[in-house]
């Protein structure tokens, strides 16, 4: 049971952050299909920092620098989307997909080069080990082992909710995703706001990436990317109807099922049911499809998402 909670928290933290990232981007009017790629870049940068930090670095240093690196890398990689989709009005679907492909290929090449350089040519795997870094994030509350990552994700969730509903900035951001011409007509710089939305998604996506690979693992093979976690987050975002608090709940729902598929044998009554593991894997998707069917009648994406903003057009 403890394990169930533990893994639910981890998966939920990842999904919440990345989905919130997607939400900010879409609320500003840019569909971010590249979350997967952003996660990979964030994960890679964070992992590299953990690898590079000296063994005697303090926990706080490790935590802060790792998160910082992941966030910065996420933001930088989201620039690929921002520049193409905002300045050059490129198709958002295409750019997102391209970024995903680019990220896995680039991360593999970069990590290989990084390892080769560091090992003086003996190790050129696309894998990073960061056992010390991983440990630095661990935190025990009674029997429950949680990670600083989760605490940070929780804080960011609260911040996001407050930010989303209470600030001038978010009001403007949301206007840009609904009716950019209206925003423009009251003097809001739509391009800037969309940049903000995309970069925010980079920030959160990058953090999500490092949590994905480091909260439960201390090794990652970058040639595998993040195995669809970004797309899952996208689903969570739509499921959460582009609202932060709903996203949190949807993420938890997904996470519960996802962790059940791995830890079910540790829960007696489930173990007795002998449900095949693959069925557990399918569960979150089936359940959410059904829930979506029941709740989607009135769900609506930001109206202007996916459409490049053009001052001249109406």
């Amino acid at each position: 049971m403890i394990l169930l909670i533990q893994y639910t928290l981890i998966f939920a933290a990842v999904l919440i952050l990345v989905a919130l990232g997607g939400m900010f981007s879409e609320r500003s009017g840019i569909i971010n299909l590249g979350l997967e790629g952003i996660m990979v870049f964030g994960a890679m940068a964070g992992a590299m920092v953990m690898v590079l930090l000296p063994a005697d670095a303090s926990k706080a240093t490790i935590i802060i620098l790792t998160m910082l690196a992941a966030a910065v890398a996420g933001v930088l990689s989201s620039l690929f989307i921002a520049v193409a989709c905002i300045n050059f009005k490129a198709d958002q679907t295409l750019i997102g997909t391209a970024l995903n492909m680019l990220a896995t290929a680039a991360a593999t090449v970069i990590v290989k080069a990084f390892n080769t350089a560091r090992s003086d040519g003996t190790d050129f795997s696309a894998k990073l080990d960061y056992v010390t870094g991983h440990k630095a994030f661990l935190l025990h509350i009674g029997e429950l082992e949680i990670s600083w990552f989760i605490i940070i994700a929780a804080i960011l969730l609260v911040c996001s909710i407050v930010f989303f509903y209470k600030t001038t900035f978010a009001l403007r951001l949301r206007a840009c995703g609904e009716h950019p011409q209206a925003a423009d007509s009251v003097g809001i710089n739509v391009y800037k706001m969309r940049y903000a939305g995309v970069l925010l998604s980079g920030f959160l996506g990058g953090l999500g990436g490092i949590i994905y690979i480091a909260a439960a693992n201390s090794t990652w093979h970058f040639d595998y990317g993040v195995a669809g976690a970004g797309f899952l987050a996208l689903a969570v975002m739509i499921f959460g109807q582009w609202k932060p608090e709903r996203i949190a709940w949807s993420a938890v729902l997904f996470a519960v099922f996802r962790s059940l598929s791995n830890v079910n044998s540790g829960i007696d009554f489930l173990a007795k049911l002998h449900i095949p593991g693959t069925l557990y894997n399918m569960f979150p998707y089936i359940v959410s499809l059904i829930v979506l069917a029941l709740t989607s009648k009135n769900s609506r994406a930001p109206k202007a998402e996916g459409i490049p903003y053009d001052k001249g057009a109406r």
Binding site: F169, L171, R172, E178, H179, A182, A183, V186, N189, R314
Partner: protein, 513 residues
């Protein structure tokens, strides 16, 4: 040095769009405290000129002066800083935001970046009271009437303390009562010293409120006149370059067979639990124009939806030419005698990203004139579209292959009217067929509708514009809160009487089956 009397001077403005000069050397001078009307056909360049003033477009040539000083307005922010505000032709409101959020957007009161809406709310309520602009600050835009949205747009300008106010066709979507209110408000504002630029196609309104009027034609400046010294006829001929008749000439109706019979029709409302259309019964005969009058939101949309099949009917019967079509598909109704000029041309009437020719055959593409073994007969479609465009004077940049989105609203409307009139029909349902059109176009469409009637069609007209209602119809049914509350004869009734029915103050206890 510019004349100090002018708040705004736009001198020799030129604005080009690919393939067209929208504004060609246009000069416009706005006096302090005046209401200055801007008149011109669809596509004459009015909206473009105003967008230049508001910083949405950068002109290729020309200068703008504010209080005699040359200014550079590069974006709406600059315009706002100069005290210029604009109510756009197509409202610039965010649907899912509340009224209050829309008003403050871009000029939000805040502390450390956090919204402090309380002050804003107070201010908005004060303004709303002072100018008698009733709004519910917490309602969402998507839930309120167009009239209220208009008020929100005005409050937006007032909230920003603008001294120059631009109204781009504010009345096209308002009910007569709302128009009256708006006219009052505009006068009040002008009296307070604010200067107003007012675009409209309705000459009555110009006569009622404007001090001066500038006229544009095909992107060129024609001249400025003092409204008091001119007649409506003069204005309209200045605008289109020839004389237009403002009154519809038509003979008395000679109704024959019954074409449409509606019995006890009920349609559920999407907004509340009650019926949007409740127990409505009426008939329309061939050779007559029956008009449904009423204030927007009293069930007209749903009634038409029920008859055309766009909405589900919960009770009652619709009989077309003796056949019960209550349960028939839209396609069936389309092909069995109903033509429909829809209320919202962008939502229903057109596929904006299709070409003009493809829109012209929107309900007919599968007929054997245009379709052979599943293949579209492109040449025939092109020819058909060209003929229709020619006949109904639909103007577009690249002819039949113009993407409809790029056509002006007026021409889009004409295209729909052309399509619907030309289709085989026994019944023509026209909902606000002239919304937003210039007088020339209105005249044309009105004539066409009367012509249809004389050729034996039954016409069901739904309009919010009383002028149109009175001019065009042979019988008027007034709808109020989903029911038909009265039937009047346009020849004998008065505007006052109509108003009483429309506001629910008077109702007949009719019996019709």
């Amino acid at each position: 040095m510019g004349n100090e009397d002018y708040v705004i001077e736009m001198l020799h403005i030129r604005k080009e769009f690919p393939g067209i000069v929208a504004n060609d050397d246009i000069t416009l001078q706005l006096k302090r405290g005046e209401i200055h009307a801007l008149l011109g056909e669809n596509g004459a360049g009015k909206s473009t000129l105003m967008s230049v003033l508001f910083g949405l477009y950068t002109p290729e040539k020309g200068t703008i002066k504010k209080d005699g000083q040359e200014v550079h307005i590069k974006n709406p922010n600059d315009a706002t800083d100069l005290g210029i505000g604009m109510v756009h032709q197509h409202f610039m409101l965010v649907d899912i935001f509340t009224v209050l959020d829309n008003i403050i957007l871009g000029a939000e009161p805040s502390k450390f970046g956090f919204l402090t809406k309380a002050d804003a709310r107070k201010r908005v309520m004060e303004l709303s009271k002072k100018y008698n602009l009733k709004v519910d600050p917490d309602a969402k835009i998507q839930d309120i009437t167009v009239g209220m949205q208009q008020r929100v747009e005005i409050l937006k300008m007032l909230y920003r303390d603008n001294e120059v106010l631009i109204f781009d066709e504010p009345t096209a979507v308002l009910t007569p009562q709302e128009i009256d209110e708006l006219m009052k408000i505009m006068k009040e504002l002008a009296a307070e010293g604010k200067s107003i630029l007012f675009i409209t196609h309705k000459l009555n309104e110009i006569k009622e409120v404007a001090d001066r009027c500038s006229i544009l034609r095909k992107g060129k400046y024609i001249g400025t006149v003092n409204v008091a010294d001119t007649t409506k006829e003069e204005l309209s001929s200045l605008m289109v370059g020839h004389n237009v008749s403002l009154k519809v000439a038509k003979e008395d109706a000679k109704p024959t067979d019954e074409v449409l019979t509606v019995k006890n029709l009920c349609v559920k409302s999407k907004n509340h639990n009650k019926d949007a259309v409740h127990n409505v019964s009426f008939r329309v005969k061939a050779g007559e124009i029956v008009c449904i009058a009423g204030i927007d939101g009293n069930g007209q949309t749903e009634l038409v939806g029920g008859i055309t099949g766009l909405e589900n009917v919960t009770n009652g019967q619709i009989i077309l030419d003796g056949e019960d079509i209550t349960k028939k598909s839209i396609r069936y109704r389309n092909t069995h005698g109903i033509s429909h000029v829809p209320e919202d041309r962008h939502k229903h009437g057109l596929v904006l990203d299709y070409s003009l020719e493809d829109n012209m055959v929107l309900q007919r593409y599968f007929e054997k004139d245009f379709n052979k073994a599943g293949l579209m007969k492109r040449d025939d479609i092109r020819r058909y579209s060209d003929v229709l465009a020619e006949r109904f004077d639909v103007r577009s940049g690249e002819g039949a292959k113009t993407i409809v989105r790029s056509m002006s609203g007026g021409n889009q409307q004409k295209a729909i009217v052309a399509r619907e009139m030309d289709r085989d029909h026994k019944l023509l349902i026209a909902v606000q067929p002239t919304r937003g059109l210039d007088v020339g176009a209105i005249e044309y469409i009105h004539k066409a509708i009367v012509n249809e009637r004389d050729n034996g069609s039954a016409i069901l007209l739904v309009s919010l514009e009383l002028d149109e209602v009175m001019n065009l119809s042979d019988r008027i049914l007034v709808m109020y809160e989903g029911e038909i509350v009265g039937e009047v004869d346009p020849k004998t009734t008065t505007l006052q009487e109509l108003g009483l029915y429309m506001s629910g103050a008077k109702r007949d206890h009719r019996k019709e089956a």
